[in-house]
């Protein structure tokens, strides 16, 4: 009797292990934790207009914020079930590594060392950016090389700081770096005349320029000195969670390509186009395959709209920044935004 129960116990254990292994492919520890908590925790910028900044009512807005809301909507059918944790450049990776945030959506450049040695994974590109320089119009400069001998303000611990050093050392030009930890300090130093130029990602410069007392007396130099693909980051080792975040981004881009918007998503569910039917869960089991509701994409689009709508609202013509789509246009419009198909 005793031997038999032992045998049964072993069998049960073995089958549980096998089932567990089969189950794990679609499950994610982070997803379980987020569900149990009842909200997503998203690491965002402390304040960068267009990407992540509190508005006059105290609500967070920006394209990075919208991405967090999209992930929350995919999980909870409610884009408001997010808690935003503002992080500066120095804190961001540690906050994600230590599990303080579930996703880092904080205009973070995808580089090889960050992707491979920090225990983190980038899940795609939300915004294709490049490093630019802002100077006073009165200086009458034409290119970055004209900044030989100038004092240049830059934020510490960023790729910008490294690109700046590379650019000037490869050309044998000297310059004086003035380095601060927070972007607001960098802007303050530039604004007060401590530096001749202020360098960071082009989109950030546009955004920061609006905060200067006299935006019109400053100009951006035409050259971009680097590639800065900005995207959301998750912890390495939870492939299920990584999939959810990556495909949330692809849904935003695919929806724009397929013409599905915040306004028409409900009627699009019954459209004849099979691509749209698969994305919105009318056909197939794609949402269930990543451990979510089958109509997860509908929740995303209802919450924030497609990629084009997010861009327009936060960065484009309907925003104070008025940034052109440029490289962030869809691939079929000559841009770089391209998402793998849902099938």
């Amino acid at each position: 009797m005793r031997e038999r129960s032992l045998l049964l116990g072993l069998l049960a254990l073995l089958s549980a292990t096998i089932c567990g292994a089969g189950f794990a492919a679609a499950q994610s520890a982070t997803l379980d934790a987020v569900r149990a908590r009842g909200h997503l925790v998203c690491g965002v910028n402390t304040g960068l207009a267009g990407f992540s900044a509190p508005n006059d009512r105290g609500d967070w807005t920006g394209i990075d914020i919208d991405f967090c809301r999209a992930v929350a909507a995919a999980i909870f059918r409610d884009g408001n079930r997010v808690r935003f944790v503002p992080l500066n450049a120095k804190e961001r990776f540690t906050a994600l590594q230590s599990g303080e945030v579930d996703v880092l959506s904080r205009n973070t450049t995808w580089t090889m060392s960050r992707d491979t040695s920090l225990g983190l994974n980038f899940t795609g590109v939300l915004y294709y950016d490049g490093q630019a320089f802002m100077t006073r119009k009165s200086l009458g400069l034409h290119s970055v090389s004209d900044l030989k001998g100038a004092s240049i303000c830059v934020q510490s611990g960023t790729t910008n700081e490294l690109n700046l050093a590379d650019f000037f050392s490869t050309r044998g030009l000297d310059y004086r770096p003035v380095v601060f930890e927070r972007l607001v300090e960098v802007l303050g130093a530039y604004s007060s005349g401590r530096c001749d130029a202020f360098t960071t990602d082009s989109s950030q410069l546009v955004s920061e320029r609006t905060r200067l007392p006299d935006p019109d007396s400053h100009e951006m130099l035409p050259d971009l000195i680097s590639k800065e693909p900005l995207g959301p980051v998750v912890r390495q080792g939870d492939a299920g969670w990584s999939n959810i975040v990556r495909w949330t981004l692809f849904v935003l881009v695919n929806a724009e390509e397929l013409g599905v918007t915040q306004a028409n998503v409900e009627e699009m569910r019954t459209t004849a186009n099979p691509e749209i039917r698969r994305m919105l869960g009318t056909e197939g089991e794609y949402g269930k395959g990543i451990g979510l509701d089958n109509d997860w994409a509908v929740s995303i689009l209802k919450a924030v709209g497609n990629y084009g709508e997010c861009f327009e609202r936060n960065l484009g013509e309907s925003s104070p920044l008025k940034i052109a789509r440029g490289r962030n246009a869809l691939w079929k419009d000559g841009g770089l935004m391209y998402a793998p198909p849902i099938r």
């Binding site: 040695s117 700046l164 930890e181 007060s192 005349g193």
Partner: protein
């Protein structure tokens, strides 16, 4: 052997040992040390295992990798091609520089203020009181920001820089001084060192002579003192004859060619000095007040002037009260220098546990090194001050 065996099996001996307070103390302390060692090992192993499991790079190899970023102020040769290890040294020397200068200046200002507070001059003592109460009660971070943002940024742009004497300029990019390169700097340093060594030796001899009667003729001793004083002066004249002076000249953007002192450094140095001086002033006042009144009266009775009494009678006795809390202030100043990060001065915290940490992502190693370095600096300061304290203290009667 048999004796040992009987002793080990003797129950009574065991019982006695268990109730022996000395044995108990040793056993419990050994146990505590063992447990602490186990906990420490577990923390280290656990951290290493978890970092590995999460695919986070660890180890100290990164110190030899190329840093790739520039630093605004450096005492050592440093470019973006240097290693993270060199960036660490740059941060460390910058911290030591501001701390060393801060300690010297704060001590000088603190002593002046402390003595002024006890001055019979009403204005001097009330001004010192107002300074101390104002400065020590406002957080240091705010004071640094005031110095940096409100004071140093209010200076004109490089184009309209304030011209100072001797070809120096002051603008919001800092203080630009003429750069003086002495022709024989190495010989000068060597001669000063030699003179210092000679002076030290002469002083020691003089002390011995005082105890056991003169061993050398006084003329030989005076010749030694003249030598110690004169040689560096001659070498200084010799090297300044061939010295080259480069004056700061306004380039397209900045003053170039001279020696530029960054406003971040100035703000930090001024802020740390004025803040710490307020505390040192109180310590000095306490030290001076702690010398019995009779000493002052005795000095006056001997016909010493107020100034002489202060220098020869009061201060030496006050020092033994002053030095231990003064050490605390030196340590505070050194640690407070890490607030540099708020105003962009490239100190150890800003360069190493800021930029390097962020570029390498190796938080655990970087923070450990930073903590160890601050601990070492503080312990070294405390050690030096304790040695000084041991020399100034005298046996109580």
């Amino acid at each position: 052997m048999a004796d040992l065996l009987t002793r080990l099996t003797d129950r009574k001996a065991w019982t006695r040992a268990v109730y022996d307070p000395q044995v108990r103390a040793v056993v419990f302390q050994a146990l505590l040390v063992l447990v602490l060692a186990l906990v420490a090992t577990e923390i280290v192993l656990n951290t290493a295992a978890n970092l590995k499991k999460q695919n986070i790079a660890s180890g100290f190899d990164f110190l030899t990798r190329t840093a790739g970023f520039d630093v605004s102020q450096s005492l050592l040769p440093y470019t973006s091609k240097s290693t993270y290890g060199q960036a660490f040294l740059v941060g460390l020397t910058n911290t030591l520089l501001v701390a060393a200068l801060g300690v010297v200046l704060a001590t000088a200002l603190g002593f002046v203020l402390g003595i002024a507070r006890l001055s019979p001059n009403w204005l001097a003592s009330k001004l010192a009181l107002a300074y101390v109460e104002l400065v020590r009660n406002v957080p240091l971070l705010l004071q640094l920001l005031i110095w940096y943002v409100a004071v140093l940024r209010a200076f004109p742009a490089p184009g309209d820089a304030l011209a100072l004497p001797f070809g120096a300029y002051l603008d919001k990019r800092g203080l630009h001084l003429p750069h003086i390169a002495l022709a024989h700097g190495g010989w000068l340093a060597l001669s000063i060192l030699a003179a210092l060594a000679l002076a030290w030796w002469l002083k020691r001899r003089a002390k011995q002579d005082q105890k056991s009667g003169p061993a050398h003729s006084p003329s030989l001793r005076s010749a030694g003192w003249v030598l110690a004083g004169l040689v560096p002066v001659i070498v200084l004249i010799w090297s300044s004859l061939g010295a080259t002076v480069r004056y700061p000249v306004l380039g397209r953007f900045n003053y170039e060619g001279g020696l530029s002192i960054e406003p971040e450094f100035l703000a930090l140095l001024i802020g740390l000095t004025t803040y710490t001086a307020a505390f040192i002033a109180e310590i000095v006042r306490a030290g001076l007040s702690g010398v019995p009144r009779g000493q002052r009266e005795a000095a006056a009775a001997l016909g010493l002037s107020r100034r002489q009494a202060l220098r020869l009678v009061i201060l030496p006795q006050a020092l033994r009260i002053i030095i231990p809390p003064l050490t605390n202030q030196y340590l505070n100043l050194t640690k407070n220098s890490s607030l540099a990060v708020a105003i962009g001065y490239p100190d150890l915290v800003s360069v190493f546990s800021g930029t390097v940490l962020n570029q390498t992502g190796q938080a655990v190693e970087v923070i450990l090194i930073t903590m160890a370095v601050y601990l070492l600096i503080s312990l070294a300061t405390a050690l030096a001050m304790n040695a000084f304290n041991a020399r100034t203290a005298w046996a109580e009667r």
